[in-house]
Amino acid sequence: MRAMDLAELTASAEHIVLGEVLSSESAWDAKHRTIYSTVEIAVAESWKGQAPGSGRIRLRHFGGIVGDIEMTVYGEARFQPGERVVVFTQGDHLVGMGQGKRRLGWDRAAKCWVAAPWDRTGASLMGKAEGDSEPAVPLEMLRAQVRALVGP
């Protein structure tokens, strides 16, 4: 996976939304060759692109578990119901696979929401200095950075 910085992620995304994962369901395709997962996210804020009328977006990614069979596609993000996330999307998938997901967590000490670095689950990062990474940032800061990049 080639590392993308925030500017590239923002430029590549059709939609950038903040929301909560409602569900993540996996299924075989009809030919029983590939498992893919469908993720439904309730949108709380839309930072780029038109907000969906339904208030929800659906994403699809390869991999998941059906019965006893588990398919892992390295580099894809994983979602869990209840997670709060900022996602950078293009069509029905994330920009840059797991790079397009920023998980939010509540920082008790600072009493604010913090966006974790991008989801690197299983991703092998190439083309960037070792140890370098997008840092965890307060949600307010991420929102301001993205809106500055998106422009008026």
Binding site: T34, Y74, H93, A116, S124, E130, D132
Partner: protein, 320 residues
């Protein structure tokens, strides 16, 4: 007449030396850290039999190397993880070149390595319930995609496929042609060696704190260390083939680190099964191992020598 002791004093050095040699030989080797890939329920994954055949489709390979060069590089990447290059393991990955240009991926029991050149999309595209194919493409930022299918309860690996993005990137031999490193060209053998580590059940040896997934433990039961922004990251992890972050021009991961070797040898230890190299097509004929000299042989030999030295010393000391 009794012999005086001092005449034997000089011999005390040798049994002491032998004893020390044996003690050192019996000490465990420096422990290496690696992390196994686990299923969602926490079961470590591995192939049931250590004879794993892959097929590389080079009928219309990218232009930087010849088809034969790509096949040779793939064979070397596979050999890095395999017996006999690694004497402590039974696993034998074989890569057979195929003349066809591409192949499908997915849960079909065929382990393939393919270059995607026309479009960077999964083939075949997933088919929805109405029987309609829905093209599904990977992002251009993905250089290669490895898929592993396994039984989530037993951890048995059932299928693996590796797709290389030859739409947005070039794949070459950057050891032979380092001047090709231009930011869009990567070393094929370097990347494949890493991906094959995933294909046999190894995970990255450190974790990314953002992923929200359970933090795994390494083979010693120690929680994984943070891969990123960690000033205390040991070199043994940063230099491992399975470390998740490298430069495109990197070629050093072609060679396994001690941690990588320990991982494959622990998962597929020598003596469990054995693949016959004589089987046509690199097939999977499991036969009992016929073993040459391994570490155990040398330890036993050391013990025997040490014991013999002590006996000789005692005999020469107490004999008139």
């Amino acid at each position: 007449m009794r012999r005086s002791k001092p005449s034997f004093k000089s011999f005390r050095f040798f049994p002491t030396l032998f004893g020390m040699v044996i003690f050192v030989a019996l000490l465990p080797a420096p422990a290496s850290a690696y992390v196994r890939e686990v299923t969602a329920s926490g079961v470590p994954i591995a192939w049931k039999h250590p004879c794993v055949s892959l097929h590389i489709f080079v009928g219309s390979a990218p232009l930087l190397l010849t088809s034969a060069d790509y096949a040779a590089a793939a064979a070397q990447a596979a050999a890095a993880w395999s017996y006999p290059q690694l004497a402590c393991t039974d696993i034998r990955l074989t890569v057979a070149p195929e003349d066809a240009p591409v192949a499908d991926v997915g849960n079909d029991g065929q382990n393939v390595i393919v270059f995607r050149q026309g479009t960077w999309c999964r083939e075949p595209p997933p088919v929805n319930d109405a029987g309609v194919a829905e093209p599904a493409c990977y992002p251009s930022s993905a250089l290669a995609v490895t898929t592993v299918v396994k039984n989530s309860k037993t951890g048995e690996i059932l299928d693996t496929d590796i797709e290389f993005n030859a739409v947005n990137y070039s794949w070459g031999d950057l050891e032979a042609q380092p001047d090709l490193a231009d930011g869009w060209t990567a070393d094929f053998q370097n990347a494949l060696t890493h991906e094959l580590g995933h294909a046999i059940g190894l995970d990255h040896p450190c974790y990314a704190p953002a992923d929200g997934q359970p933090r795994h433990t390494d083979n010693k039961g120690t929680p994984e260390v943070n891969c990123y922004g960690n000033p205390d990251l040991p070199d043994s992890i940063a230099n491992a083939t399975m470390y998740p972050s490298v430069q495109l021009s990197d070629t050093s991961r072609r060679v396994l680190s001690p941690d990588d070797e320990q991982g494959v040898c622990d998962i597929y230890p020598y003596g469990r099964d054995f693949c016959s190299a004589d089987v046509e097509g690199g097939g999977c004929n499991v036969r009992p191992p016929v073993r040459s000299k391994g570490p155990g042989t040398f330890i036993a030999l050391g013990l025997a020598l040490g014991l013999a030295a002590v006996l000789v010393w005692r005999r020469s000391r107490f004999e008139p």
